[in-house]
Every structure is written in structure tokens, then in C-alpha cells.
């Protein structure tokens, strides 16, 4: 089965996602380019990637989870955990097994979140990074379990948690089981919080639905990437139900900043420093000058 499906689903460009490696890519004349939706400039993928997937105009392209880990982690410090937790098919939803199988092949990931331990700016922490290439980062029981275990591990080892969210919401193919993951993860966040431990979350494009209504909005500090769509209900659904024109910039990171729901916008050129500084401010003891 694998070879046949691999052939069918090998559509996405390796360069675009970084594959499962973080090796730098050589620029060459024949390589594909990506057009910036903001300034319409064509950017060779290797240059885009070397620039943390941002355009010179400031537009932030999406990143795969592994690209993001390579971007944020101190070199060779990431150690993956809970990757063995994978979903079953709790309500035997028609076509779900098949979809999972295909998604695993096309995304080269086994679930919509990668968790582990890492150092950022020298500070040890737990990290979870959601993966939009896996069923749009939807949260089913495996995602909920991995994130819950991450917070429980962090609680046990007195570590801060840094999370990157990207999600279309709860995974409907797992029915009520997936809705319950919102409560389950929130419980783990609360216990971590009650121990006086620090949780920093970075909202990336797009963060919506059940993830917005749970751990995405539960950080002690909530950062968001420029231009990221963040909201609870989908914009199109709101437009259809209310029959109103949505305000300019509705549900963008900047919109949330204006309305008091994120602490700061974190552009990628300063993002790692922001996170590292915030982590250091939450470690005990004084900063040692290096």
C-alpha cells in the first residue's frame, strides 16, 4: 500500500515544507519560487526559507512544525516526546482511518502536534508545536493526549511550556471525544499554572475554533505572529449568519492586540529573542551575564 499511496500523495514540494530535515537548501536557477500574496514578489524557496519563511515586505508564510522547531530551538537541543501516541478511530467515523493513513504519508507526520523538550536561549522548557499540514492542525484525542502529557511532564519537572498553535479546531471525525480534549488540556494547563509555572503561547496562522477556546488562550503570555488569523468562529460563517460586512483586519493578530487578547505581536526576526527573554524573566535566580 505504502508505495502506491506515496506516489499519489507526493504532491507537496519538499523545499516548501523542509521535509523532515532542517538542512539548509542550496539556491539554484531551476528551483521553484513562491509568490508573496502581499507584495506579489516571486521568492526562490531557498531564500524564503533562509529568511525564516518571511518575505522582505514582512509577510509571514506558514511553517511546518519541524521547520518551526529548527527555527526556535537552540541547536540540537530538541528531543521529541510522546510521538508514539497515535489516534484510533473512537467513533468509527466513515473514511477517517483512510484519511489518517493518507495524511500520514503526505505530511510525513503522524499527528497534528509535535511535543518534546528543548532549550531556547539556553532555558530548558517543554514545547509543543502544532502542524497545519496534518488535517489543518485539528485536535483529536492524540493531539489532546500529547499536549496534556506535555503539560504534565512540565509540571512534574518544574519546566515552563512554550507552545505554537495552528489549528482549524476540534477534529470532527472524533466526535465528542475531540471536544473533550479542550477540557482535558485546559485541566493540565491549570495544574501547571497553579504550580506557579510559566506558559507562553505563540498563535500562528490560523488558530481557530476549539484550540482558540482552550489552550491557545490560556497562556500567561500570549504572542501572535504578524497577520495570523486568530478567532473562534470562522469568518465566513460569521458573515453568513450575521449578513454583515466584516471589519477590516477582522480576526487578525493585530485585531486581537487592539481588543486586548494578545500581549504582543512577535515577528520572526525578533521572535526567538522575545521568547528567550520572557523565559529568562521567569527562571529563578538572577540572569548571569555571559
Amino acid at each position: 500500500m505504502a508505495t502506491f499511496l506515496k506516489f499519489l500523495f507526493h504532491s507537496r514540494n519538499e523545499l516548501e515544507t523542509g521535509g523532515r530535515s532542517s538542512l539548509p537548501v542550496q539556491e539554484d536557477a531551476s528551483e521553484p519560487e513562491k509568490v508573496c500574496p502581499n507584495c506579489h514578489l516571486s521568492i526562490p524557496l531557498s531564500r524564503l526559507w533562509a529568511n525564516d519563511n518571511t518575505c522582505t515586505c514582512g509577510f509571514h508564510f506558514r511553517m511546518s512544525a519541524l521547520q518551526r522547531i529548527a527555527f526556535i530551538a537552540d541547536e540540537d537541543t530538541f528531543s521529541e516526546m510522546f510521538s508514539d501516541v497515535s489516534t484510533r478511530d473512537p467513533i468509527q467515523f466513515p473514511g477517517y482511518q483512510k484519511k489518517l493513513e493518507m495524511t500520514r504519508i503526505s505530511s510525513k507526520e503522524d499527528e497534528a502536534v509535535i511535543c518534546g523538550t528543548v532549550r531556547i536561549g539556553g532555558v530548558e522548557c517543554c514545547i509543543f508545536v502544532m502542524e497545519q499540514y496534518f488535517m489543518m492542525g485539528s485536535m483529536g484525542t492524540a493531539v489532546g493526549e500529547r499536549i496534556t502529557r506535555t503539560f504534565e511532564y512540565a509540571s512534574e519537572h518544574k519546566l515552563p511550556v512554550v507552545g505554537f498553535t495552528v489549528s482549524g479546531g476540534a477534529r470532527m471525525q472524533e466526535g465528542l471525544f475531540s471536544l473533550m480534549q479542550m477540557a482535558k488540556t485546559s485541566g493540565a494547563v491549570k495544574r501547571h499554572s497553579d504550580l506557579g509555572l510559566f506558559y507562553l503561547v505563540v498563535l500562528t496562522d490560523p488558530t481557530t475554533g476549539g484550540v482558540t477556546a482552550s489552550f491557545a488562550m490560556e497562556g500567561d503570555v500570549i504572542l501572535a505572529e504578524p497577520g495570523a488569523t486568530v478567532g473562534f468562529a470562522g469568518a465566513r460563517v460569521i458573515e453568513q449568519t450575521t449578513r454583515k460586512t466584516l471589519p477590516r483586519g477582522f480576526q487578525t493578530a493585530e485585531f486581537l492586540l487592539d481588543h486586548g487578547f494578545v500581549d504582543a505581536i512577535a515577528p520572526r526576526n525578533i521572535q526567538k529573542n522575545m521568547i528567550a527573554e520572557l523565559l529568562k524573566l521567569h527562571t529563578t535566580g538572577e540572569e548571569d551575564e555571559q
Partner: protein, 266 residues
């Protein structure tokens, strides 16, 4: 138990002939005093809450109210709370905690309100905060889904020690229409989606996601409320018998164990 199909149950759950939250408050409790407002923005009519007595003992009740006629439905935003509704609910829950009153939540919503203002005022944040805070609320909590349990908007009142559902109530991650239109681009396939989503009370019970299904043979009659009232009284008694750390640990584990995954030994 009835032999209705899932989608028939969806229709029954949504029927405007069913008792709404205020009917339950009237019949299960005495001396109800309604309390208004979230102390931050406004008073959301979709949430009706306050203090009352259950069998003579003070209790805090928070319900999502749909309204029984067109005028009432408008006043209650058709039972779809805005962020201020969830914040009002949380204010009353915290009040219950302060005065050691048990909490009863009555859930009946197609979902959290979907609108521009709701997003501007942080619908996601409001629900998220309730999930976190309810998990450690230091009083016994029982939630009853009396009609529709629509997604995150319902869950925001369902982080409880016991969750019960009426026989024809539904509890779902997404509406069957929404599911059908996303998956099959055809909202007419809602009946099929309803079947597949396993959203009935009986499904929820057999999946271990709720503790009890309340029969509806005498729905709305005095015997129905009398029986439900007695079940509540004895359940609160059981919960009150637990030491606080045990109560909270059991509530945490109630949600913690929900999953369906496998771990491959490597």
C-alpha cells in the same frame, strides 16, 4: 428508551416545545433569586443564573436559556451566549465557590454566539477561561444537557463532576449540518452526519463520556421533576461526602482519561 434515529433526536432536542432552563429552575428549585451581569461589559440574556434552594439547601444555578416564544427567544439570544454570558456564568460559579454552594448547570445551546462582537470581546478566551476555572472549582458541580449541547459553547458549562443528558438531548463537537457541509459539501446530508457523529445521549453514555441518561417519558410533568430532583439531591450528597482534594482529583481524571489512542512500544 425511544427508538428515534439520531437526526430525529436532533430535531426533538431543538424543539421549542421542550422545557427550557427556567422551567427546570422553577420546578427543581425554590426561592430562586436571579442575578444579572458579568460586572465587565453587560448582562447576557442567554445565561440565566442565580441562587436558589434545592431541598432547602442553598445552591447556585447557571443555565443557558433559549426562551419559550419569539419575544423571549430574542431576549435570550436564542440560547447562544456571548463572551459576557460565559463571564457572567463564571462570576456566579466563583460566587458559589466563595460561599460553598454546590453548582448546577443546565445546558441547552446550539453553540456559542457567532458574531462580530463576540469575536471582538474574546469568545475563545471566555470559553477557555471557564474550562480552566471549572476544573478546579472547589464545590460539587453537576451539569445536565437538557436539549442541545452544542460544541465549545456547551462545554464551557460542562466541566463538571457529573454530566447527565436527557434521553433526547444531543451533545456534539459540531452541528450535523455543519459537519455535512464541511465533509460532503451538502448540508442535506445532516441526517447521515448525525448518525456518524455519535451525538445522542445513549452514544455519549456508552462511550463513557457522561454518567447518566434521564428518561423523558414524563418530560415536563411533576413526576419528571420530582424524580430528577431526588437524583440531584442524592448525587450532591455523594459529592459532598468527598474530601476536596478527592473531588478535584476525580474531576480532573474524569476528563483526563478521555481519549482513544494507542501507544506503540518502541
Amino acid at each position: 428508551m425511544s427508538s428515534n434515529t439520531a437526526y430525529e433526536k436532533v430535531k426533538i432536542a431543538r424543539s421549542n416545545k421542550r422545557p427550557t432552563a427556567v422551567d427546570y429552575i422553577d420546578h427543581l428549585l425554590t426561592d430562586f433569586i436571579e442575578l444579572h451581569g458579568d460586572r465587565r461589559f453587560s448582562d447576557d440574556g442567554a445565561i440565566v443564573g442565580g441562587i436558589a434552594r434545592l431541598n432547602g439547601r442553598p445552591i447556585t444555578v447557571v443555565g443557558i436559556e433559549k426562551g419559550r416564544n419569539t419575544k423571549e427567544r430574542m431576549q435570550h439570544s436564542f440560547g447562544s451566549p456571548n463572551p459576557e454570558g460565559y463571564r457572567k456564568a463564571l462570576r456566579l460559579m466563583k460566587q458559589a465557590e466563595k460561599f460553598h454552594r454546590p453548582l448546577l448547570c443546565l445546558v441547552d445551546t446550539s453553540g456559542a454566539y457567532c458574531g462580530i462582537g463576540a469575536e471582538e470581546r474574546g469568545q475563545g478566551q471566555a470559553i477557555a477561561e471557564n474550562l480552566m476555572e471549572m476544573m478546579t472549582l472547589k464545590v460539587p458541580v453537576i451539569s445536565i444537557v437538557i436539549g442541545e449541547g452544542g460544541s465549545g459553547g456547551a462545554l464551557a458549562l460542562c466541566v463538571a463532576d457529573r454530566v447527565w443528558m436527557l434521553e433526547n438531548a444531543i451533545y456534539s463537537v459540531i452541528s450535523p449540518e455543519g459537519c455535512a457541509s464541511i465533509l460532503w459539501k451538502d448540508s442535506a446530508k445532516a441526517a447521515e452526519a448525525a448518525e456518524n457523529l455519535k451525538l445522542t445521549a445513549q452514544d455519549s453514555l456508552s462511550n463513557g463520556l457522561i454518567e447518566k441518561v434521564i428518561p423523558e417519558e414524563t418530560l415536563g410533568e411533576e413526576t419528571f421533576y420530582e424524580s430528577l430532583k431526588n437524583q440531584l439531591i442524592s448525587e450532591y450528597e455523594i459529592l459532598a461526602g468527598l474530601e476536596l482534594p478527592d473531588l478535584l482529583e476525580q474531576r480532573y481524571q474524569r476528563f483526563r482519561r478521555i481519549g482513544c489512542f494507542e501507544t506503540i512500544d518502541e
